[in-house]
């Protein structure tokens, strides 16, 4: 059976419905694209996105599942075959969707669109929506599927098995380096959001004792009662945000929690190290519960808020920075950096690590990869669209005053106002000050990194329907808290994952290092990992050119490199299994991704323009240092030397990433040619066929046939009560009959 719900032909009614969905979506895109010079409602973006998702999910995702992947629901999944009620266990598709979405959704889809808003909202939105349905969702789903067919193997293992040792090692290196850059960039976002903000710093600091308390409660008092523990934690968290307002208002306390960026770097590094070596039940696990709850809650609230308040877009559809020169928010031309800056939300290589981790070990039915893999990524794409909306309903003058590096804007509202006017946008010093006052911050000038801008947008939306302007400062810090909380959760989990990867690799060289329980090894390797991302974090915070400005493109390139590895593995498997005619499904996103990433790398490596090329930048500043001149934004010779070193290091990183892409792709192409020639010895590492005994629906909502099938001897699944599932009373007769 191909696909669970494959039926011959569509009814006239459903054809009519789908044509209507298509027309509404197309009309919304038309409104967005053609409304030149007038401001449109954010509702059009929502309608266009939802229409596109619906069509893509119904037709394209189904085509991939049935024709390309040939999902077979009579085949037992690893969850069924290897069920041990711990890591392998058949899990309800809706529950697994929740798990998977919570694991893939992070700060990426919230930060990238905010930065890319400098080009106007249209280029970013098109890439988020179209990129997701044609590339990102496809990558997530096919990686999930192929990993599931291999008993949940990781991406690195699949690259080694299907491509070869060179591809495998390159994939492993890619995963490790993206981890380090990711952690540094995300921590940088937190530093930028909390620097000189006593309110934010206090609330975030409070999450540590709250987490300890939750951990103790869950371990000692009420083992396993996750929900009540989370409820207590969230209540305390809200209290911490409220108390933050009082801390902010009290000069003595405020001074105590006003930390400089460098002090915050130190705090985050110490925190990351502790979280990596402490037992997870103390800090990491309870924080994970808190941040997951906050994440889902805020996303839902944001969707509701946008639909209720229907804000109007202030940002132009296409701004004047959509050129080869690029804009002031991050370094890089319009093409290809729109596609690099917005990684998560459209195509995120990092997802392939999640899709080849725990999720494939828990799927009940093969065809459910559509709901879980494709569906969860559509949801993340939608989060990115909302982030784009939140950044675009802010006045453009204020947006640029917040996002241009501080070295360009100067330290005061006056200098910032002049600098922004110089870029052709209007904002007065008074307006800048009152915007900061309205959210309870000292200043909003040069609050780069995306989080403060997003928090401002969110606070405008939330206060529009919950509490009015009196609560705007609360909502701003609520949004900052929500972002910082789950970024720090990514930082502590990521440090731990990177530590295990490194221990695993180094264990091959010297055995004791591979033993994760050996304390000196664990502490030493944790320190190495923390030092690695801590270095980039410190550099980012002190970079005279602006850390986000410099590092975000490097992060984007590394993330897209990982996507290239995942898509290459998918193309390789399709070719090796005789499905070359469908290799275009992952092949087109792969080609697009490789062209974008390599041309971005090319610019970053070879461009003569010091604004674009890292080495040109390094050389230009070195030349000035030799002459003893200081050029803005540097203020001293030390600044100048720092730029020389930073740009050189960033350049070397990009060289490494580009080389890795070429290596993986080259090695894979060798395998493609051998497979196409029909060489002997091309093996596919798929698990054998075992017949499935589980009966479970394929999509998110069970069809009436599926409900009947489950009622007739199905087990292991539970349909919702009151909807005609097997717990409902109305299907009792079917079971008897």
């Amino acid at each position: 059976m191909e696909g669970a719900t494959a039926r011959k032909g569509m009814s006239a009614r459903s054809i009519a419905i789908w044509i209507a969905v298509g027309l509404v979506g197309a009309f919304a895109w038309g409104v967005i694209a053609l409304a030149r010079g007038e401001q449109i409602s954010a509702a059009w973006l929502i309608i266009a996105a939802l229409g596109t998702y619906a069509i893509a999910y119904r037709f394209y995702a189904r085509f991939i599942v049935t024709k390309v992947l040939r999902a077979d629901d009579t085949r037992a999944t690893p969850a069924e075959r290897l069920d041990n009620a711990t890591d392998f266990q058949p899990t309800d598709r809706r529950v697994l969707f929740g798990h998977h979405f919570a694991a893939i959704a992070g700060a990426g889809p919230l930060v990238g669109p905010v930065l890319a808003a400098q080009f106007g909202y249209l280029p970013g939105t098109i890439w988020i929506v179209v990129g997701a349905v044609l590339a990102g969702c496809v990558q997530d789903m096919v990686t999930l599927f192929f990993s599931m067919r291999r008993d949940g193997k990781s991406l690195g293992q699949m690259a080694r098995d299907e491509i070869g040792p060179v591809g495998g090692v390159a994939a492993l290196l890619a995963v490790f380096s993206i981890m380090i850059i990711l952690l540094a960039v995300l921590a940088l976002v937190v530093v930028q959001a909390l620097a000189d903000s006593p309110w934010g710093t206090f609330s975030i600091a409070m999450t540590i004792p709250i987490a300890f308390l939750m951990g103790f409660y869950l371990r000692v008092l009420r083992p396993g009662r996750v929900l009540e523990t989370t409820a207590i934690g969230v209540t305390l968290l809200i209290l911490a945000i409220v108390l933050g307002g009082y801390v902010d208002g009290n000069p003595t306390l405020a001074e105590y929690f006003t930390l400089s960026p460098n002090a915050l770097v130190l705090a985050i590094v110490i925190y990351g190290f502790s979280a990596s070596v402490l037992p997870v039940w103390m800090l990491l696990a309870p924080r994970d519960y808190l941040s997951t709850f906050m994440k889902i809650g805020t996303i839902v609230l944001l969707a509701v808020g946008i639909l209720i308040t229907l804000p109007v877009m202030q940002n132009p559809a296409i701004s004047k920075f959509a050129t080869w020169e690029g804009g002031p928010v991050f370094a890089g031309s319009f093409y290809p950096f729109v596609f690099i800056t917005i990684a998560c939300g459209a195509l995120s290589g990092f997802h392939s690590l999640i899709a080849s981790g725990t999720t494939p070990k828990m799927i009940e039915k093969e065809s459910q990869v559509r709901t879980i893999g494709y569906g969860a990524m559509m949801m993340e794409s939608f989060v990115a669209v909302m982030a784009m909306i939140a950044a675009s309903i802010i006045d453009p003058g204020l947006y640029f005053a917040m996002n241009i590096p501080g070295s360009v804007l100067g330290g005061t509202v006056q200098t910032a106002s002049e600098a922004v006017n110089g870029f052709g946008f209007q904002i007065s010093p008074q307006e800048l000050q009152s915007a900061a006052d309205s959210v309870g911050e000292e200043t909003l000038v040069a609050r780069t990194g995306g989080a403060p801008t997003l928090a401002l947008g969110i606070s405008q939306i939330f206060s529009g329907f919950l509490g009015g302007s009196a609560l705007q400062a609360f909502w701003y810090h609520f949004a900052i808290m929500f972002e910082a909380l789950f970024i720090l959760t990514t930082v502590d989990a990521g440090t731990r994952v990177a530590r295990f990867m490194l221990q695993d690799t180094l264990g091959n060289v010297w055995k004791p290092l591979g033993r994760t329980s050996w304390k000196p090894g664990a502490w030493g390797i944790s320190a190495v990992v923390v030092a690695a991302w801590g270095y980039f974090l410190w550099v980012g915070v002190n970079d005279p050119l602006g850390g986000v400005n410099q590092l975000f493109p490097v992060f984007g390139i590394s993330n897209q490199l990982l996507a290239a590895v995942a898509l290459t593995v998918a193309v390789t498997i399709l070719i090796k299994t005789g499905r070359t005619k469908y290799a275009w499904v992952p092949g087109i996103p792969l080609a697009f991704d490789v062209v974008n990433t390599l041309s971005a790398s090319w610019q970053k490596i070879f461009s003569d323009n010091p604004k674009q090329g890292f080495f040109a930048q390094s050389n230009a500043f070195q030349g000035l240092v030799d002459k003893g001149t200081v050029k803005a934004p540097a203020k001293s010779i030390e600044d100048m030397q720092q730029i020389v070193t930073n740009s050189f290091v960033d350049g070397v990183l990009v060289v490494i990433f580009a080389t890795l892409i070429i290596l993986v792709l080259g090695d894979a192409m060798r395998v493609w040619v051998r497979a196409l020639r029909g060489d002997e010895g091309i093996a596919v590492a798929e698990s054998e066929y075992v017949e499935s005994k589980i009966v479970a629906p394929s999509g998110l909502i069970a069809t009436s046939e599926e409900k009947a099938a489950m009622a007739n001897g199905g087990h292991g699944d539970r349909e919702l009560v009151g909807t005609g599932g097997r717990d409902g009373e109305d299907d009792g007769s079917e079971r008897r009959g």
Partner: protein, 62 residues
């Protein structure tokens, strides 16, 4: 669907997603596949599960 059904469904979903019902499922699994074997208490089970995560960290995405 009545309000009571809705509350039941939501609480079922939250317990599943948060992992609160994992223990019950594990007990059922033990009873079915290893009948007669002693079954860990909830406290021991939760401690063990948490400690497993010490050495099998799950990445959170960007």
């Amino acid at each position: 669907m009545t309000v009571r059904d809705a509350v039941r469904n939501i609480s079922w979903y939250l317990k599943e997603v948060s992992g609160e019902s994992d223990y019950d499922r594990w007990v059922a699994h033990r009873r079915e596949h290893h009948p007669g074997d002693p079954v860990m208490s909830r406290r021991d089970y939760e401690c063990r599960r948490m400690d497993d995560r010490d050495s099998n960290p799950r990445a959170r995405c960007c």
